[in-house]
Structure formats: structure tokens, C-alpha cells
Amino acid sequence: MPDRLRDPFPDWTDAQRQAVVELIATSASAMVKNELRLERRRFYMTSVLLVVTGLLALAAYTTTQSKIVDATRQQECVVQRLIIRVTPLQPRGVDKDGKPLHYTNAQAKQVRDFRDLMLGALPPGLHCPPDPGAA
């Protein structure tokens, strides 16, 4: 008979053997249960962390995105204000006789067309606050 098959405890009774087998089975079961419980908890906590990280990332993304949109709109309003200021529909100043300047019809059309062309390059539906320096 090979050594590995030889009974190492030949003087043990069947009852003793049964007790040892039950002890090992109980310990193994408890170990597995404990390990499963820890694994479940790890999985749960990692899931929570991932969800929370995702939510925070979404919060940062949406907030940044809205800030970018606001900043872009502000810049577009600055450009709109600039276009309106540099294309006055009534010329400013007076002539050599002290009378207010006037466009000819052709000049007025040119100015209006140029203003419309420039404003047309801005995105449609742009709502800007009134220009305080326009008056």
C-alpha cells in the first residue's frame, strides 16, 4: 500500500473521525460564509462609490457646461453691442453750420445692410440686456 493511502491515525475510533469531519465542515462553512459576506460588502461599497463618483462627475460636467454657455452668450452680447454701436442708424455730430448730420438714403441703406449682415453672423434668438452706453 502506498504511503499516502495509509491511515495516519489508525487508533482513532469512527466517532472521533466523524467529529473531526464535522468540525472541519463547520469551520469551512463559517469561513466561506464570512468571506462571502465580506465580498458582498466590498461589492456594495464599491458600487456606491462608483455611483456617487458618477453623480459628482455629472454635477461637475453640467455646471461647467452651463458656465461655458453663459460665458459664450456674454461674449456674443458684447459683439452684438459693438456692432450696434459702430453702425449708428443716425450719424452723430454736426456739420460746419452746426446742424445735425443726416445720412443720404443710399448711406442709410448701406449702414443698415452692413449692420444686418454683421448681426446675421450672430446666433439666432440671442437675448441680450439693453446696452447702458447706447444712449
Partner: protein, 95 residues
């Protein structure tokens, strides 16, 4: 006014989440079992610190609704729920 109160609650909640993450990280660090998951908690704590700082600054400059606010609130609720269930299961395991 309502938005301002909501933002204030968000900042307070983020502060609480930061404190909890810091406490978990510190406790694990001291007991010497800072595992991968707990490093995540520390990272999350730092993110909440950012939320507290950013939220406090934002409160001082703007009164408006920010689109990120519902997500921050949702994350605080998830962390609170996780804290509650963890504590409950710890109590169950105590002899």
C-alpha cells in the same frame, strides 16, 4: 430663496460626506488596512472637499440655480443611505 436654501443644504451635506469619507480613510489608515476601496473613499472625500469649497464660493457670487445641484443632492442621498445601511449591518453583527 428656495434655491439658496437648497444650495446651502448641498454645501452642508457635502461637508458631512467629506467628514465621513475622511473618518473612514483615517480609521483604516490607523488600523493598517487601507484597501483599494478605501482609497476610493479618500478620493471621494477630496471630491466632496472640492464641492464644499466650490459651493461656498458659488454661494457668495451667484443666487441662481445651477444644473449640477440635483446631482450633488442625489450623491449626498446615496452616501447617507450607504452610511445608514452600513451602520445598521454593523449593529446587527455586534454580539
Amino acid at each position: 430663496m428656495l434655491v439658496q436654501a437648497w444650495r446651502l443644504l448641498n454645501v452642508a451635506g457635502a461637508g458631512w460626506c467629506f467628514a465621513w469619507c475622511l473618518q473612514v480613510g483615517w480609521h483604516r489608515w490607523r488600523t493598517g488596512d487601507l484597501m483599494q476601496g478605501h482609497w476610493l473613499a479618500v478620493g471621494l472625500g477630496l471630491m466632496y472637499l472640492g464641492a464644499v469649497v466650490g459651493g461656498t464660493y458659488s454661494l457668495s457670487v451667484s443666487q441662481q440655480f445651477q444644473p449640477g445641484m440635483p446631482f450633488v443632492t442625489a450623491s449626498i442621498v446615496v452616501v447617507g443611505w450607504a452610511r445608514w445601511t452600513t451602520r445598521r449591518s454593523e449593529r446587527k453583527e455586534e454580539p
